[in-house]
């Protein structure tokens, strides 16, 4: 802006540079002016002096002044433009004085009048505007032309008469100011009109210089024209990132308000396609990944997400509470010259490092194992897992050991952790980290995670940080942008499903303090997260529970054409652009039954069978159980039968003086379980060879053989019905479908012996409780007959000590207490 030649303001006087400058024309014209006392004894104002000088110089001044009018429109326009620009940019208030001053100087006439003047000078003004823009000359011109302007406004010929021009201008300005407040909006719209007129003109200049953008009102939005398809190829050859970036913003703006801003004849898909290509070019993504991201995020978030991936996340570290406290560690690090802060109220051990004068990974505290460099999002799954002391924990994919060590510190080095990883080189870092941090309760192993329940199972809690595509940590590894495609994602998903099923099988559902599994990935793809979790929910007896993390976005329950289980809302997603941590997904499962729902395949593992806490009978296994039972029976390993039968037999023998009679009763009681009966009969048949005890066998087999045909032939249908009913009644045991499972899980009610007659069930059932211990909790079939039975059975049920004991103690003798 030019100097304010505001006559109402007192000019600074003094030897200072600014004061001299503010003197106005005096200094410049001093050479032309005579000495002070020349004309008047009184001190003339600068204008007066100028006029005097002009008069004196006569023709010498004329050409200058003649020059000025031509410059006037320019300069007048210029300050106006400047003031307009100033109006826009600094904000109304700040610029108001400028605006008024400019107006006062430049537009003593009503606004419109000056507009006209402006307009006629427009042609000249346009060309020179750019040149004069921001140049010092403009100031000089403005300064010099103050008098000239007033001259031109006053028709040039007018000499100072009653009022000096400056006084006239001042008066007008005062009037303007008075009106300005009221007319501010009016003037502004005028400004806008002018600017809109201006904007098309600088349009052609726009491409040349970005300065031209200043003239353009930000609020004015040119309709964005989607370039025709032909131009797209052009971009591929010589991508101009600036233009692409601008175009991205434009398209996002258009799409945000598509109804009004769209270009006629262009579909949304075209805009989206263009946007996808531009984003891929600008941020260097592969098309596949970008397409996936566009499905995942709304457009505004998408750009933020992409931007966030360009920037690394802040470095965070976790205090090792086995060796130090966060407060002490923070103090020690600050003394070394590290600038840090606590991570947030959700973490008691986290610290975020802003900057550091020493390498964070090499301080003596690091080497002493006082802290571990770990991403903030990696602390979350362990917090969700919440390991307790003296538990057995499995960490299936533990490298480089950050989560394992966090688990150990939460457990205070009690219990046992089995840290496993399939990658031998990364295991070295696990060992190193664990030793450095002083973790002593860990075993490190090198298995493929899918082998797990076979090697060792029965853990209280399991953490599975599955290998993934890494789309949440793009800021750490930009190669992910381009080298991931459909096959990779599906391969990862397949591996994750297998690992998750193995992990579920390794959890002991009957653990007193546990039975939890946390599944997490550092990826944001739905195929690797919600889909895998949903698959596990269908395939195993698990359910999702809240993770305990109160922040983070909920997982999706539906995504495009897929629909997931509603409990997926308790899973959590984290994004780099919303939470400033790596992209992450966390799901926490609770296993409520150790049995594995069978789907017409080989019998499940009896090894993991234990009485389940809550039975969740899935209808489909039940329905298929009946026909499947026979098949299962055939497939059944004799071992299972033996296991089951032995204690039963032992108990029976002991309990019942008359084995046969008892068996008969038991047989009767087992009537309800049709399939059981069938199976049992078949089992019994197969058993005899296995059984060491010969006593019962012949009896049993004899009995069975007599009974089985009856059972099978006549009662099948009835049994099925009963079974179904019973199943509903049963509360304890889960719907154990597999025969083996049922055997393992003992329901007090189901302590019906496999042999069984269907008839006379009632009587037998009454007696049964006393005799039988639930040997084979086959199914809780036969609701109605079971009713009383269950009641009577309950005392037995209580005496039914955990099956685990029974199973373990395969010896005959151990079964005795059970029956008592």
């Amino acid at each position: 802006m030019g100097r304010k030649l505001d006559p109402t303001k007192k000019e600074k006087r003094g030897p200072g540079r600014k004061a001299r400058k503010q003197k106005g024309a005096e200094t410049e014209l001093a050479r032309f002016l005579p000495t002070a006392g020349d004309e008047n004894s009184k001190r003339l104002s600068s204008r007066a002096r100028k006029r005097a000088a002009k008069r004196r110089l006569g023709s010498a001044e004329a050409p200058e002044t003649s020059r000025c009018p031509s410059a006037n429109p320019l300069t007048r326009k210029l300050p106006k433009g400047v003031s307009a620009g100033a109006v826009r940019t600094p904000g109304k208030k700040g610029a108001q004085s400028l605006f008024n001053a400019a107006q006062g100087k430049k537009r003593p006439a009503p606004a419109h009048g000056s507009d006209e003047e402006e307009e006629e000078c427009e042609e000249d003004g346009v060309v020179n505007q750019g040149e004069l823009w921001g140049s010092e000359d403009s100031d000089a011109d403005m300064k010099d032309d103050y008098g000239a302007d007033s001259n031109s406004e006053d028709d040039d010929d007018r000499e100072s008469e009653e009022l000096l021009p400056i006084e006239r201008a001042a008066r007008k300005q005062k009037a303007q100011e008075a009106v300005a407040g009221a007319l501010w909006s009016e003037e502004e719209t005028d400004e806008e009109e002018e600017e809109e007129e201006m904007s098309p003109e600088p349009g052609p200049e726009k491409g040349d210089e970005t300065d031209g953008g200043l003239q353009i009102n930000v609020e004015v939005e040119e309709p964005f024209v989607l370039s025709p398809a032909g131009e797209m190829e052009q971009d591929a050859q010589a991508p101009d990132l600036q233009r692409i970036h601008k175009r991205i913003q434009d398209i996002v703006g258009v799409l945000r308000d598509f109804g009004t801003q769209r270009e006629e004849g262009r579909s949304r898909a075209e805009y989206l396609h263009r946007l996808q290509r531009d984003l891929a070019t600008y941020y260097s993504y592969g098309d596949f990944l970008l397409g996936k991201l566009m499905d995942l995020f709304p457009l505004s978030e998408l750009v933020e997400f992409l931007e966030a991936n360009e920037v690394p996340r802040p470095i965070t570290l976790r205090t090792n509470t086995l060796k130090t406290r966060r407060r002490d560690l923070a103090q020690a690090l600050i003394n070394r010259g590290v600038n840090l802060d606590p991570l947030g109220k959700w973490s008691k051990t986290g610290l975020v490092v802003y900057d550091s004068s020493v390498p964070i990974g090499a301080t003596p505290e690091y080497l002493a194992g006082h802290y571990m460099l770990q991403g903030a999002s990696s602390m979350l799954p362990v917090m969700a897992l919440a390991p307790q002391e003296h538990e057995r924990i499995l960490d299936m994919c533990c490298a480089p050991g950050g989560k394992t060590s966090y688990i150990a510190q939460l457990m205070k080095n009690t219990g046992v952790i089995l840290a496993n990883d399939a990658n031998a080189e990364r295991l070295k870092s696990v060992v190193g980290n664990l030793h450095r941090l002083g973790v002593t309760n860990t075993i490190v192993s090198h298995y493929d995670g899918r082998q797990f329940p076979k090697v060792v199972g029965g853990f209280d809690r399991v953490l599975l940080d599955a290998p993934c595509s890494g789309t949440g940590v793009i800021s750490k590894d930009p190669a992910v942008k381009t080298n991931k495609d459909e096959k990779d994602i599906l391969r990862c998903a397949h591996l994750q499903k297998e690992l998750l099923l193995s992990a579920i099988d390794s959890v002991n559902a009957t653990s007193k303090t546990g039975g939890y599994l946390v599944y997490c990935t550092c990826s944001i793809m739905v195929e690797e997260n919600e889909w895998v979790v949903d698959y596990a929910l269908k395939k195993r007896n698990v359910r999702l529970v809240p993770t305990g993390l109160d922040f983070g976005q909920e997982g999706f329950t539906r995504f495009r054409e897929r629909r997931f289980h509603p409990t997926l809302r308790s899973t959590r997603r984290f994004y780099p652009h919303t939470h400033n941590m790596d992209g992450f997904f966390i799901a926490k499962f609770k296993k409520f039954s150790n049995s594995v729902p069978q789907s017409q395949t080989a019998p499940g593992n009896s090894a993991t069978c234990t009485p389940a806490s809550l039975g969740q009978v899935t209808p489909q296994p039940e329905s298929s159980s009946q026909p499947a039972k026979k098949a299962k029976v055939a497939v059944k390993t004799k071992q299972q039968l033996q296991k089951r039968q032995h204690p039963e037999k032992a108990s029976f023998e002991k309990q019942n003086g008359n084995g046969i009679s008892k068996e008969a009763r038991s047989d009767l009681s087992t009537v309800s379980s049709v399939t059981k009966a069938q199976v049992s009969s078949m089992l019994q048949d197969s058993l005899p060879p296995k059984k060491a005890k010969v006593i019962r066998e012949p009896k049993v087999t004899g009995k069975l053989k007599r009974q089985s045909p009856k059972l099978q032939s006549s009662k099948k249908v009835a049994f099925q019905k009963q079974n179904a009913a019973v199943k509903g009644m049963v509360t304890e045991t889960p719907a154990v479908l597999s025969f083996s499972k049922t055997q393992a899980t003992q329901k007090p009610e189901n302590c019906v012996q496999p042999f069984g007659k269907t008839q006379g069930a009632e009587k037998v059932k009454q007696q049964l409780p006393e005799q039988l211990s639930k040997k084979t909790a086959f199914q809780k079939q036969n609701g109605t007959p079971k009713g009383p039975k269950t009641l009577t059975m309950s005392p037995l049920g209580s005496s039914w000590s955990p099956p685990a004991k029974r199973r373990k103690s395969q010896s005959r003798g151990s079964s005795q207490p059970l029956l008592s």
Binding site: P364, L367, V416, K428, G432, V444, S445, Y447, V456
Partner: protein, 176 residues
């Protein structure tokens, strides 16, 4: 994974005794359970019995590490103590050496400590005695050096070779 043989046990205990004297029994019978040493791939691991039970299920070629690694046997059956054993030796150390904060950093990075850098030292420490080095804040060994040979303690210079020296094996495994 197998228990140590007689010979190996003897060798190992001799080494450890240099630092903690005859207090070996304290290592084995601890209030929170019995601990034992197991050998796996020439490394000696110090584990509690609870962990041992679970580890027994893991096949030998898949087992990488148990509990804490105390050290390893070299090819010629000498025993090298590792820095990871520090936490267990430190409480029972017979001879201790404290060094001043100024000398601490240089010691950490592998230099000898001169007599002037010594803060305190246990009485009757003879030459070539194995000592445990502490910082003035009683942090043991500053993690770097376990075995320090005190050379010429009566002399003006006490040179304490540090872990970085060829005497000690700092495996990359531990450092990673």
């Amino acid at each position: 994974m197998r228990p140590l043989t007689e010979e190996e046990t003897r060798v190992m205990f001799e080494k450890i005794a240099k630092y903690i004297g005859e207090n070996l029994q304290l290592l084995v019978d601890r209030p929170d359970g019995t601990y034992c040493f197991r050998l796996h791939n020439d490394r000696v691991y110090y584990v509690s019995e609870k962990i041992l039970k679970l580890a027994a299920n893991i096949s030998g070629d898949k087992l990488v590490s148990l509990g804490t690694c105390f050290g390893k046997f070299t090819k010629t059956h000498k025993f090298r103590l590792h820095i990871t054993a520090l936490d267990y030796l430190a409480p029972y150390a017979k001879y201790k050496v404290w060094i001043k904060p100024g000398a601490e950093q240089s010691f950490l990075y592998g230099n000898h400590v001169l007599k002037s850098g010594l803060g305190r030292i246990t009485e009757n420490t003879s030459q070539y005695q194995g000592v445990v080095v502490y910082s003035m804040a009683d942090i043991p060994l500053l993690y770097s050096a376990i075995i320090i040979y005190c050379i010429g303690s009566e002399a003006k210079d006490i040179q304490l070779p540090v872990a970085g020296s060829p005497d000690h094996s700092m495996d990359t495994q531990q450092r990673s």
